[in-house]
Amino acid sequence: MYRYDEFDAAFVSERVAQFSDQVRRRISGELTEDQFRPLRLMNGLYLQLHAYMLRVAVPYGTLSSRQMRMLAHIARKYDRGYGHFTTRQNIQFNWPKLRDVPEILADLASVEMHAIQTSGNCIRNVTTDQFAGAAADEIIDPRPIAEIIRQWSSLHPEFTFLPRKFKIAITGSPNDRAAVKFHDIGLMAQTNGAGQVGWAVYVGGGLGRTPMIGKQINGFVPHEHLLAYLESILRVYNRYGRRDNKYKARIKILVHEEGLETIKAQVEEEFSHVRGGILTLPQTELDRIDAYFSPPAFIDSGVVSIDVEREKILDPAFGRFLVNNTFSHARQGYTSVTVSLKPIGGAPGDATAEQMDAVADIAERFSFDELRVSHEQNLVLPHVALSELRAVYQALAEAGLAEANAGEITDTITCPGLDFCALANARSIPIAQDISRRFADPERQREIGKLKIKISGCINACGHHHVGHIGILGVEKKGTELYQITVGGDGTEDAAVGKILGPGFVADEVPDAIERLVDAYIAQRESAEEPFIAAYRRLGDAPFKEALYGNG
């Protein structure tokens, strides 16, 4: 795992000192809220419905136990005893006091964390696959490159006042679990004809008001030129991205309005100047960063497989956990375990300080001190030996964290919505909770299989509703909260944006509507092996539209 060297440490502590000064100036009235806004945003501090909200970056989703414990400490000391993990591999604290923020940032800095660039019109925290560095299907561990991008983008002097925020996601696996095609820039590992690994670059993806699937702007950029290429894209965007309308300011609109070919030509022109220049990444530096991410000291316990069928009979709950919450590891005898933050009826993504401490302990004992935060608002223990899986399950169960629903219908992604968010049109957490209770029965969930429901409280789409197999979007119509339902979205390499099939529903009707969609699917699927999204692709809208609105 990446460790700060003296330079990184000094960098972050200077930044904390800088922001402390800005906070002091705000409290003393020397800075107006207008002037303070861009500064606090760049330090991850939002003004929300009830209070300031502090967003802390978990770069490429990787955390050590020590860091997780510090998050627990902050939740306890400065907040109301919990934190909220988001779809951007961040954690948000909803109740800090402005005057405490410098202290919180100093605490974070002591464990090599920060809130730099988690908001504002700059390059945001780089996100990646939660199984990076562990997954069996991976071409390359994307985290070293993600770390290099993090460094390059931190307080970039040229790109701190972009037209709009800018998000980069990166995946090292052909099975995209980081939704790279829905980011401003998406990077997907690629092997070229000569067997070298590099990056396919997608640009102009995004969700929000105008969802767009990223388009490939370059099929292969080698590591050494990647920063120069990214700088070229950012420069074109900084210069030509729209600034007249905040809703049209993301790069996706630029790409859409100008056309991929135009943007590509501009980027290539820019790249022809910066390529081979000061941003060229030497192999030695890549090796140096790589070394931080070298695999832990795996041990051969002799256990190389688990008889899941047998476990299912012996202990159905554990059996279900094995089926849903483990993921194939590159190393024989190991697996990655998903720790669901979606207990039935709970607020998705919330973790109490006690739970954070418990997970930290478990990671320390069973996962080489490593943890991941997934964009699906769960945690991951990336390297668990099969021989210790039972013990891990036991420990998670004791902490109330053994919900075995990863990937199932109750594993929703849900934004904070009207309960916390100043921008919301509608509540989203209560909707998620209703759905979760409705489908609580494990047998029912198993029958339904893999199905991703994603819920946003407004068109900003923090809950990724566009790419939910079923998406739910809160809108406001004549003073009442309505929920629009979309079907067929997909955030993976088979990217698709969900379709609206008809008018919205009031909150009470939503669980029924979802149930009707699910029933329609089960009735018409070819077999239990055909998941919802595949059935939708085969069947088209009609049966689902009928399920929602009848055939009137």
Binding site: P38, R239, L281, E285
Partner: protein
Amino acid sequence: MAMADPVPSQGPDKLRALGIVALNGMFDEMDAEGVLRQAAEDILPADLALVSSFGADSAVLLHIVSRVDPSLPVYFLETGKHFAETLEYVEQLKAELGLTNVIAVVPDPADLARFDPTGELWETDPDSCCHIRKTEPLEKVLSGYGGWVTGRKRFQTAERGVLPHFELTSDNRIKVNPLAYYTHDDIEAYKHRYGLPDHPLYHQGYKSIGCAPCTSAVAEGEDPRAGRWRGLDKRECGIHFDFNGQIAPTRKQAGKTKEMRLFKNGGFMADPWTDWVEALDPAEASYTHVPLDVFVAHREAFIASPHPLGLRVDPGHRVEDVEADMARFSSVAISFPAFGDGRGFSSARLVRERFGFQGEVRAVGDILADQVPFLRRCGIDAFVVANPATRQALENDAFAEVSLYYQPVGTRAEVPVGTRPFLRRALADA
């Protein structure tokens, strides 16, 4: 960077312009003495004069004159404001080098009586003071010659980086710069070789010597000319500054910009530049930042104009459209109408890093204190800001700055620790 158009559309005829190009081609390699001999004997016989300040570096050129032709007219601008040491030095050099034709040029007493009766004009309006004490008298003298010799050198200031041996002025005369290619070390070596006397003030820290009130000592490592007009943005007078080499008139509105709005070199100072006003005639524009689109629309006229010009880059302007003309500008103003609009950051880097522009690049407009360090890294070296908090921060140099940075930018020689790890490492290992 080449100037786009060595042949201005008005002014010198083409033949002479081409002649200058040819001259520079022929004598580029020639040493200083050869250049002067060529000028004095072949190109402008009996039609060439020299103007000397008898300052810190003047001895070298005067020594070369004494070897080529001790009777060459040498004019000395007796502004009435010189150090006594300078006047002594004039006599000393005259005697030691055997110069027979040193002529003092004095200001017009009527002008002095009218504009500078108390002798304190330099304090309030150095531009006008220079005008009546230097430019006017010199113009009178030089108008009688087909050309003159200067002691200017490429290394002296950034603006002079491209100085050739021969220059054509817009009124068809020739400026000869025998020392154009001399470095500071060449000068020192030359003085040493011939045992030339130093200006008496040289060893007191005065590395560039003009009139007494306007000259101060420079610190070790500072630009030798930093001591001239210290605290003001005045660096060059028209005679040197001017694109076409013409002696430029002093700015008419000199008095208007006395408000200390420009922050540069660590302090606020009067801004010698004025803002562009709509529909200004290109031929009239002088010490003005011309908006990029206006420049492009009237490019010919601006190129032909003899006046010092700056470039104003607004958000949305494509700086690459004037890349070839950058040498025409003495200053670039990047405007920031709203602090949230970061386009100027890219423009600044392109101007500095890609086009290699060496002159002043100023940021103008709505700038937050916290943006100043970023702007500096993008190549900005001067600020014109209204925001009181930003002005205060500049004044006190009080930036809660992150002095470390991960990503290199192209031009600034950033402190070793302030770069990406792999660059740091390379240095640390070395």
